[in-house]
Structures are given as C-alpha cells and as structure tokens.
C-alpha cells in the first residue's frame, strides 16, 4: 500500500481530487476555492497602510488561511511520510535544454541550481525568486484570481471572464518559458 502511494499519482486521480475540493468547500460553508486571495489577506492583516483595497474584515476570510496552512502540512506529510525515492522523470528535450543552462539536478521539485539559498545571491536566482514572486502576486490580484480561482473555480462556474484570464495565464507562460527564460538563464 505504501509503495503504491509513493509513486507519482496519475493526472486523472489528482485532477478528480482537486475538482472535488470545489464542492467540498461550498458544502462545508459556502466557501469559494481560490488561493491567491490569501496574499491580499496577508496585506490586509499586516500592512493595510490606509489603502482602500486592504480595508476590509480579513478575519471573515480566515478560513482561507487555515486552508493554505493545511496545504503546507499536507505537503509535509506527503514529502516526509510517503516520499517518492526516484528522481522526477522529465521529457528528454527539456533535459537537453536545461543541461545547457547547467541544470542537472532532478532530485527536488525545483531545480536546486536555480531555486536555493545558495543561488539566492546569483543574478538569475534573484530574478527568478524575487522577480517571479512579485509578478505572481501582482498579476494574480490584477487578474482577480490565480489558477485555482479563475482556471478551476471560474471555468467550472462557466464565467467567461475567467476563460479570458486563463488564456492570458497560458499566453504569459508560453512567452516566459520559450522566449524570455533562455535570456534569464544566461544571466
């Protein structure tokens, strides 16, 4: 049983379980699935600074902070309780491309040559972590949601603005991965 759980789970199992989170949250208490809102609640709770956008009763949304706290604990359980001992299997073309950038370590979920405390003071590490994080936070709030709120909750509720947002997420991703990332990697 443990070995069965340790191997990477297939997409249809993961997709179905994530899809079920939407009705579970609705049935448990009328809560709408969406994670990036927590970044806003963090601002509202810690540094509202008189900004209108952060003037609301964030405590009413504290359920969502419990939810992401759960994600953190769940990831800990999976990583230390039922770890996959094998390195992640990646498409050979990607392996080739990344080798040119000096990325050869597939032992973690992230490339340790880029995302680690050691690479924190390298130009490309800094751009990826500080720059990337900033774009994620700024963009998701500007768009009104992230992958969970728009691409899953919004699309499932047949909201066409969410379809627009999801298409733009993908367009931005294609642009970065194929055209911009090669330059950042050479920093």
């Amino acid at each position: 049983m443990k070995e069965f759980l340790q191997q990477p789970w297939p997409w249809y199992v993961a997709g179905a379980l994530i899809g079920l989170i939407v009705p579970i949250l609705l049935l448990l208490g009328n809560k709408h699935f969406g994670i990036s809102a927590n970044l806003r609640h963090a601002c509202a709770a810690c540094f509202p600074a008189g900004i209108n956008f952060f003037q609301y009763n964030w405590k009413k949304e504290s359920w969502n902070l419990f939810f992401v706290g759960g994600i953190l604990i769940g990831a800990m359980i999976a990583a230390f309780g039922i770890p996959d001992p094998n390195p992640i299997l990646v498409h050979p073309e990607l392996v080739n491309e990344l080798k040119d950038y000096g990325i050869t370590d597939y032992s973690s979920m992230v490339p340790t040559e880029l995302v680690s405390w050691d690479s924190f003071f390298s130009a490309r590490g800094l751009v990826m972590m500080i720059g990337g994080g900033f774009l994620v936070g700024f963009g998701s709030r500007y768009a009104g949601g992230c992958t969970s709120g728009h691409a899953i909750m919004g699309l499932a509720n047949l909201q066409w603005p969410s379809l627009v947002a999801t298409c733009c997420f993908m367009a931005g991703g294609f642009l970065m991965a194929n055209l911009i990332l090669p330059f950042i990697m050479k920093l």
């Binding site: 448990l28 680690s116 972590m129 994080g133 298409c167």
Partner: protein, 167 residues
C-alpha cells in the same frame, strides 16, 4: 442594526473586489470551525506533492507542450468541479449548516488580460502559482518563503496603484 447592516454590505463589496474567492456565508461560527478547511487543505497539499503539480519541471513541460500531465490535471479538475456545481445549482443543495449556496457572477475588466499575462510570466518563471508556493515551503524548500514574501509585496504594490491602473 441598520448601521451594522450597511457596514456588512460595504465590507463585502471591498472584500469581493478583484477576487474570485470570497466567504459567502452569513453565518457566524466559532473560530475552530475553520479546522475543517485545514483538513481539506491537507488533502490538497498531499495531492500537490504526489502528482508533482508543484514541480518546476512539470510547468516547463506544460509551457513547451512536452507533457500532457498538467493539462490532464487542470482539465479533469474543471470537469469534475463543473459537474458538481451544476448539480448543486440544479438540486439547490445547501451547506452542511443548512445555508443556501451562492455564486457571484464575475464581471469582465481589462485586469483579466493585463494581470493575466503578468501572472503567466511569473508562473512560468517561478514554476509555482500561489498554492504550490505553500506546498513547496511545506516540503522543506524553505527558500520559497522569499518567493511568498515577494508575491505578498506584489499584491501590496497592486493595491497601492490599483486606482491608477487600467481596469
């Protein structure tokens, strides 16, 4: 009574600005009721790690059309969620506390295009959207705390300039 009523309405208006996910419940519960959401989060965190949805490599594959994995995950999730929502609406299913389930339609604005593109750039760069950032921290990639703080800073800067940005 009247005063507090208006206050609730305006607070809801601010809370629902530029966000898909709001607490629609009007009921008051003790704070420890929130542990049920912690439990759902734990399930989500386990799926994140075991299906490698939080892997930077899987995101790069997705944006290069080298793997079906992420399209399969998101596609299945949307279909399962859509069927569930349709059933909830059709049978007017209530919450476990006997409250009607509400949905708020989302209005279109330019933010979904501009912000969407900006988010996409960040998604492919860090290989993580907001949920996976928490999962990566949980599995011991502590440097992702920097990414999280930077994302919170990005959200704050958006809030600061919100009135001057095209919407």
């Amino acid at each position: 009574m009247n005063h507090s009523q208006t206050e609730i309405v305006t607070d809801f208006e601010v809370r629902s600005l530029d966000t898909m996910c709001i607490n629609e419940s009007e009921q008051q519960h003790p704070w420890w009721y929130n542990f049920k959401y912690l439990a759902v989060g734990i399930l989500f965190g386990i799926v994140f790690v075991k299906a490698e949805i939080i892997s930077w490599f899987r995101m790069q594959e997705m944006f290069r059309f080298q793997s079906f994995h992420m399209y399969g995950v998101i596609g299945t999730a949307v279909v399962v969620a859509a069927i569930s929502i349709a059933l909830i609406k059709k049978f007017k299913v209530q919450t476990i506390h006997g409250e009607d389930i509400h949905f708020t339609p989302k209005k279109f604005n330019k933010g979904q295009i501009i912000g969407g593109l900006i988010f996409g750039l960040g998604w492919a760069l860090t290989g993580a959207c907001p949920g996976p950032i928490f999962a990566q921290i949980g599995m011991g990639i502590t440097v992702m705390i920097v990414v999280l703080l930077s994302a919170i800073a990005g959200t704050w800067v958006y809030g600061y300039f919100r009135d001057r940005l095209p919407h």
